[in-house]
Structure formats: structure tokens, C-alpha cells
């Protein structure tokens, strides 16, 4: 392991801002959940109601995780559910950033030529993420105990957060060896994470043990504060090690720059169709489109199938079914569940829209826009080709999830012709809100190209308002900032045209402003 220590210092130097941010932020969040629950639910009666209603709603269990009791600890452990996926994502991206991205940029070569061992680069990044996750877990445990929760359950939450990070760091290390190129590694890693999230959501929503197949579910299945299962913490360590071993083997046996799956030769001449900016954009976006559409369809199949099971669970609880029906103004429990699923799908579809629109900026900074603009392709035509995918791509993905969930749900309740259009409509109605985020990305690209990735911040705000706005009792004015607040709750709710037209107009205005500014600005490369 010669040289690993120096590489650790290099990683710490490069991530001196990013690393502390995610460790502190993700570590601090669980404690704040507990604090807000203590304030919101001061007595046992309120806690019992919350446990019997909101917390055991199948759509909440699908998104966050199972509920094992009516204590503040149980609520906090459920709320932490989302964090497991985020910790997983951060670790995945961090490991790929310090392995495959380095190789792509040719910097690994520079480092490998110095006196370091073959295993040092992978060891260094895994050591850093191991320590960072452990620290994150300890901060979370300390924050939770400070609120007055039992320290053993708090430590278990901390350890399972860290453990999830370790498993996904190992997965990151593995996919970085398998593929050729950081983009492909990220794609594969995120696909694995997405699949893990879907399995957990489908399993937990239907109270099925299927969710044990997903590492993202283990943390909550260790039942923190409600009969702590310590052996689960060991499970994380074992699985992370089992995944890391083949990653090490491949890292040592392959050439620098090569993947285990080698790149094939391409055609010597372009097909006749490859002669327009749109054809080029199709080549650059088709993988993304296929991946997202497949993911959305798969999610739709799972959630649509689980909807029936979810409502079965609920209808056994007469009291709660009545309460929910009252709260929702007559909508059925399944409709509420499906509406919740569509709301989350919309946020994810917006992430796709942003990612597709950001390709424009990547083409610009990657110096691949310049040679195209130096041909007779105008700027608007070039941008429009990419926007076809940033606008229609999320539409296709939403339609896929609507069709798939409508199909499995319709089949489950033996009413395909009735349910399919309802569920499809519920998915497609999200599109105007999704396009607002695409529009924001394009506006930033035109007006402030260096800040284009701030569009992710806009999505984070929407996610925050949607997931936590109600819990934190924010004002309607604040909630209205998010375009997703204005989407009709379908299926089951009523549709009014005004918000949909307004959202579409806002999205179109952002697009036009962005394109106008892009046409007049300098091409920047920095």
C-alpha cells in the first residue's frame, strides 16, 4: 500500500470543502428530525394518532420506510429513510470521482507513474469514505442522543447510515472497474442505487420482506429504538467487504484506462441520417433516454403492483381507512397512494430534465459545442436539438411510469380499461411542473452559464418543500414556490386548467429567456 497515505491527503485536499459539507449536513439532519417530532407531537395521544395514521400510510412507508412503534425514536427512524439513499448516492459519486474520473482525465497516469502500489488509489479513496461515513454516523448518533432519545438506538442509526455509505462506496469502486469511462460508471452505479430504492419502496409499501434485498432498507430493518438488532450493522461490513474484493482484483489486473468491458470499434463512415444537429443530439441523449424510460417503467410496474397490496393492508384497519377518506375528501386510499407516487416520480423526472438540459453546458465546457457552431448550425438550432430531449424525454419517462403502473394496478384490481387512463393521466399531468425545472436550467445556461448547475439547487428546494414543508408547517406562500405544489392531486382529485396553463407558460418563458440570452452571449469555456 505504498503511497496510499499521500493519496489520502490528495483526496482530502481536493474535497476539503465538499467532504465536510456532506458529512456535517447529513450527520446533522437526523437530530433535527427528532427535535421537530418532539415539538409537533408533545404527548402520547398525539403520537399514537400519528403512528396509526400518517406514519403507517403505505405511500409514506414506501417513500420513507416501515414504522415499528409509536415513539419519537420510531418516527425519527422512519424519517431517516430518505437519508440512506442520499448517503448511498454521495458515496457512489465520491468513489467514482476519485477513481474513474481521474483515469479519464489522465491524472491517474501521472500518479501511477510515481512510487505507489497498484492498490493504493482504490485503498486511499475507500479509506477516506470509510472514515467520513463513520464520522457522519457518530455525528448523527450524538445529535440524536442529545435530543433525549436512547443512546443505543441513536448509535444504531448512526452505524447503519455509515454502513449504507460503506456498501455504496464499495459498489462505486466496483462499477468504476467494470465500465470504460466515468459517465458509464456513474450511470451503472445510479441504476444500481435506483433499483435498490425501488425494491425497498415496493417492499416497505406493501409490508413485504422483499425489501431485505435492498441495502437501503437494512438500516430501518435493524429497528432502532424498537428492539435494536445489532447484527444488521455487521451485515453492512460483510457485504461491503464482499463487494470490494472483486473491485480490488479487477483494479490490479486491468490496464490503466481500460474497463473490464472493452470499447468496440465504431463505423468508419457516418450513417446518412447523421447529418443534422438533431441527429447528433439523438446520439448524445439516446442512452440517457433509454435508461430513464426503463427505470420509470420498472418503477411504475412495481408501484402499480404494490398499490393493491397497500390498500389491502389499510382496509384491514377500518378506523384509519375512514380517517384517510375523510382527510382526502373522498379519495380512496389507493388513489392517495398513487398520487403520492406520481408526485415523487415528477421530482425524479425533473432531475432527468435538468440532467438533459445540462448536457448543453457540458458540450460547451467540453469544447464540443465550438466545432459545431463553427459550421453552418445556428445557436438556436443547436440548443433546440438538445431541448427536444430535455422536454420530451421527461414526458416519455412520465408516460412510461403512468402506463406501467396503470397496467399492473389495473390488472390487480381487474379493471384495466378503467384504471389505465386514470393512472396515465395522473402521471402526465405532472409534466408542466417538471418542465419549469428544465426551463430554469435553460435560463441559467443562457444568462449565467457558469451557474448552470445551480438548477440542482432549485430541485433541492422543491424536494425540501414537498417532503418536509408540511411537517415543518411552512406557510402556503412558501409551499407555492415549488411548481409541484400546483399540480392537481391525481388520480382522485379534480383537474383545473389554470395551474397547468400557468406552469406551462412559466416553463416556456424560462426557455425563451434562456435561448434569447444564449444567442447573444459569448461562448465560454471556463
Amino acid at each position: 500500500m505504498t503511497g496510499a497515505w499521500n493519496l489520502v491527503r490528495l483526496i482530502l485536499r481536493r474535497d476539503r470543502i465538499l467532504l465536510p459539507i456532506w458529512v456535517l449536513l447529513l450527520g446533522a439532519l437526523p437530530g433535527t428530525y427528532a427535535t421537530s417530532f418532539f415539538e409537533l407531537l408533545p404527548d402520547d395521544a398525539a403520537r399514537a394518532t400519528f403512528a396509526a395514521t400518517t406514519a403507517s400510510n403505505p405511500s409514506v412507508e414506501a417513500m420513507l420506510g416501515p414504522i415499528y412503534g409509536s415513539s419519537i425514536g420510531a418516527f425519527t427512524a422512519q424519517r431517516v429513510g430518505f437519508l440512506y439513499a442520499i448517503v448511498g448516492l454521495v458515496n457512489l459519486l465520491t468513489v467514482i470521482r476519485h477513481t474513474r474520473t481521474e483515469e479519464d482525465a489522465g491524472r491517474r497516469e501521472l500518479v501511477a507513474a510515481t512510487a505507489i502500489s497498484r492498490h493504493a488509489p482504490l485503498t486511499a479513496v475507500l479509506a477516506v469514505t470509510f472514515a467520513a461515513n463513520l464520522l457522519l454516523g457518530l455525528i448523527a448518533a450524538a445529535g440524536l442522543s442529545k435530543t433525549g432519545l436512547p443512546s443505543s438506538g441513536s448509535l444504531l442509526i448512526g452505524l447503519t447510515l455509515a454502513g449504507t455509505g460503506w456498501v455504496f462506496a464499495a459498489i462505486g469502486a466496483l462499477v468504476a472497474q467494470l465500465t470504460e469511462g466515468a459517465g458509464a460508471a456513474r450511470g451503472l452505479g445510479i441504476a444500481v442505487l435506483g433499483a435498490a430504492f425501488l425494491v425497498k419502496a415496493a417492499g416497505d409499501g406493501a409490508a413485504s420482506s422483499v425489501s431485505w434485498a435492498s441495502p437501503l432498507a437494512w438500516g430501518q430493518h435493524s429497528r432502532p429504538y424498537e428492539g435494536d438488532q445489532w447484527w444488521v450493522a455487521a451485515l453492512f461490513v460483510i457485504v461491503a467487504a464482499v463487494i470490494a474484493v472483486p473491485a480490488y482484483r479487477m483494479a490490479a489486473s486491468r490496464d490503466v484506462g481500460a474497463g473490464m468491458v472493452p470499447a468496440r470499434l465504431g463505423p468508419a463512415e457516418a450513417a446518412p441520417r447523421l447529418s443534422t444537429p438533431l441527429a447528433l443530439a439523438w446520439r448524445l441523449h439516446r442512452g440517457l433516454l433509454a435508461g430513464w424510460t426503463a427505470g420509470f417503467a420498472l418503477a411504475g410496474l412495481l408501484f402499480g403492483g404494490a398499490a393493491k397490496a397497500a390498500s389491502d393492508v389499510l382496509s384491514s384497519n377500518k378506523e384509519m381507512a375512514d380517517l384517510l377518506a375523510k382527510l382526502s375528501g373522498g379519495s380512496s386510499v389507493t388513489d392517495l397512494y398513487l398520487a403520492e407516487i406520481m408526485g415523487v416520480s415528477a421530482i425524479v423526472a425533473a432531475a432527468y430534465g435538468i440532467q438533459a438540459a445540462l448536457r448543453m453546458r457540458a458540450e460547451e465546457t467540453g469544447l464540443r459545442m465550438e466545432p459545431v457552431l463553427a459550421t453552418s448550425v445556428g445557436r438556436i438550432k443547436w440548443a433546440a436539438a438538445h431541448l427536444v430531449f430535455a422536454v420530451l424525454g421527461p414526458a416519455v419517462a412520465l408516460a412510461a411510469t403512468g402506463l406501467a403502473s396503470g397496467l399492473t394496478y389495473g390488472l390487480a384490481v381487474h379493471d384495466l380499461s378503467g384504471q389505465l387512463p386514470r393512472v396515465l393521466g395522473a402521471a402526465v399531468v405532472q409534466l408542466p411542473a417538471v418542465l419549469v425545472l428544465t426551463g430554469i436550467t435553460v435560463a441559467l445556461f443562457g444568462l449565467a452559464p457558469k451557474l448552470t448547475s445551480a438548477a440542482w439547487g432549485a430541485l433541492a428546494v422543491c424536494l425540501f418543500l414537498g417532503q418536509l414543508g408540511a411537517l415543518l408547517q411552512l406557510s402556503q406562500g412558501a409551499l407555492d414556490i415549488s411548481p409541484f405544489t400546483h399540480v392537481p392531486k391525481l388520480p382522485g382529485g379534480t383537474v383545473t386548467a389554470t395551474p397547468l396553463i400557468t406552469l406551462t407558460a412559466v416553463a416556456a418563458a424560462f426557455l425563451v429567456v434562456g435561448l434569447y440570452a444564449f444567442r447573444r452571449r459569448d461562448v465560454t469555456t471556463g
Binding site: A270, L280, P371, L373, T375, V377, D522
Partner: protein, 304 residues
């Protein structure tokens, strides 16, 4: 200075462009006549790439005028670009597209390319068009861009340091190709800091520094502005030679530099003392170049 007696493919005057506090161009002038190969010389950061990007309508100049093929490079960008081909200094390709696909795509976006010439160029540059963009080396990426540009049917070639990644053999092929282009009557703007290349290929050169043109003309004209160095061994030592520079006398051996118009006087002076041997060499472009660059340290300017 160059006299405008033909139509110009490129006319730039008083061009200014700054990025924040950095002044990349400080009143740059450039004239490229139709049918000539024009060398665009300058050290890194002098503003060569910025000028080219303004000419391509990728950057908007702060002030000054630029005319390209009779049009406005900013407003008429798309129509003008049908008539030109550009090879950037830093070629990046789409990782998933093969070299052949990139060549065809860029050619078609410009308005077509000559398949025979494409085949011919691939052979001459010894380039495998089936490889994917991510697997090419820097030199091979540059070859892809060069083949795409040279096989296109255009009037003007704008080449930004096109040989910086090529090996000497391929640089030779590149020179042959540019000679061909010259014969076809195409105009070439060749930005470079490889002096031998410019000396071999260019009809005229413009030397820029800190965003300004410091010298422009044919190589002969530019040589005329500079000095010839002479080393001579004399029969009898002499005290001094009027009108020469950097005179060094070592017994009977003298070494000095002389302005072109004063060579005759200096030689007359030497012959009075009796010349045993004489070596004279004309100014190289290197000397020309160094004379302008070493004059004073960089103050402003950053290449973009």
C-alpha cells in the same frame, strides 16, 4: 505595411475584447488576402485564439470591426460558416462517436465534403476512422478535425495551432496538404508558434503580442526590417565599424549585426581592412519573433 490591392478574406481593425479585468485584445489589426496562406504568430496568451473565436462569431468583440468573407462574423455566422472550416487548437471529440462519424457529421453540417478527398486524407494521415472518440490520442483527435476540415469544400480554412499534437512525419503530411490547398486557391489563416512551419508555408505573417499586432507583412518585408548577422576574419584589425549593432572585435575577428539597408556600407568598410573569410546569415524568423517578444515583459493578455 501591406497594401490592400486585392479583396481581403479577413479584415480586422482596432479589435478590443476583455474578459473581466483581462484585456485579451487591445486594438488588434489583421488582414488576410484571398488565396494566401497567412501565418498568425504569437506566444501563448497573445490573443490568437480569442481573435479566431471573434472571427467565428463565438465571442462578441467589445469594439472594433471585423469582416469575414464580406460579412459580419457575429450577425452572419451561419451563412458564413458554410464557406469556411475550422480546426480548434484543443480538439475534443464525442466519446461515443467514431472518428469517421465525426468527420462526416462536421462535413455535412458545413454543407458537404468530398468523399474522394476524405479517403485520400485518411490514408495520408494514417488515421483509423473506426475508433471511438474517447480512444484517440491528442494527435489523432487533431487528425480527425484536420481531415474533416480539409475534405470540406470551403473557401477559407481557419486553423488554430493545428499541428501541436502531430509527430514530425505527420507535420510533413500537414505541410503538403496546405501546399495543395494553396494551389487550389483557398485562403488559410494558420495560427501557430512553430516558426519553421510558418516559414515554410506562409505568404504573409502577422505577429501579435498582448492583443496587438506588432508586425505584419511578407517574410521578405519582415526580414527587411531586421538585421543580418556577419562574422568576418580580417587581414588587419580595425577599431570600429560605423552603423552596426552589437559589434564584438576579437583581434582580427569581428562579429556584428547590421540593418539590411546598411549592409553595403558595412561591407565596404570591411573590405578596406581586407577580408579573409566572411559568414553572413540572414535573419531567421526566430530572430524576428524573439526580437518582438523579448522587448518587454507581458503586461496583459490571456488566451481564451
Amino acid at each position: 505595411m501591406y497594401v490592400r490591392n486585392m479583396e481581403n478574406a479577413i479584415t480586422v481593425s482596432g479589435l478590443h475584447k476583455s474578459f473581466g479585468r483581462t484585456h485579451a485584445l487591445n486594438g488588434l489589426d489583421l488582414q488576410v488576402a484571398v488565396g494566401e496562406v497567412h501565418g498568425f504568430l504569437g506566444p501563448n496568451g497573445a490573443g490568437k485564439s480569442t481573435t479566431i473565436r471573434v472571427l467565428l462569431g463565438l465571442l462578441k468583440a467589445d469594439s472594433g470591426t471585423a469582416t469575414l468573407l464580406g460579412g459580419d462574423p457575429w450577425k452572419d455566422a451561419t451563412t458564413l460558416h458554410r464557406r469556411l472550416a475550422y480546426v480548434p487548437g484543443d480538439v475534443t471529440l464525442w466519446p461515443g462517436l467514431s472518428g469517421g462519424e465525426v468527420i462526416d457529421l462536421l462535413g455535412r453540417l458545413r454543407g458537404g465534403l468530398d468523399p474522394q478527398r476524405r479517403k485520400d486524407l485518411l490514408e495520408r494521415f494514417d488515421l483509423d476512422p473506426r475508433k471511438k472518440g474517447r480512444t484517440y490520442s491528442k494527435g489523432n483527435r487533431q487528425k480527425v478535425a484536420l481531415v474533416a476540415a480539409l475534405a470540406s469544400d470551403v473557401e477559407l480554412l481557419i486553423l488554430d495551432e493545428p499541428t501541436s499534437g502531430l509527430d514530425p512525419l505527420m507535420e510533413g503530411v500537414f505541410r503538403e496538404c496546405i501546399e495543395d490547398e494553396k494551389r487550389r486557391g483557398r485562403t488559410v489563416l494558420l495560427s501557430s508558434h512553430i516558426l519553421a512551419e510558418v516559414e515554410a508555408l506562409c505568404d504573409r505573417v502577422s505577429i501579435i503580442r498582448n492583443g496587438q499586432t506588432v508586425e505584419s507583412g511578407t517574410l521578405e518585408q519582415l526580414r527587411h526590417l531586421t538585421r543580418t548577422s556577419i562574422v568576418a576574419e580580417l587581414a588587419t584589425p580595425i577599431g570600429t565599424i560605423p552603423g552596426v549593432h552589437n559589434l564584438a572585435i576579437d583581434g582580427a575577428k569581428v562579429r556584428f549585426e547590421v540593418d539590411t539597408e546598411k549592409i553595403d556600407d558595412a561591407l565596404k568598410h570591411l573590405s578596406h581592412a581586407g577580408v579573409r573569410s566572411l559568414v553572413s546569415h540572414p535573419p531567421t524568423i526566430e530572430e524576428l519573433f524573439m526580437r518582438h517578444y523579448q522587448a518587454e515583459p507581458d503586461q496583459t493578455g490571456a488566451e481564451r
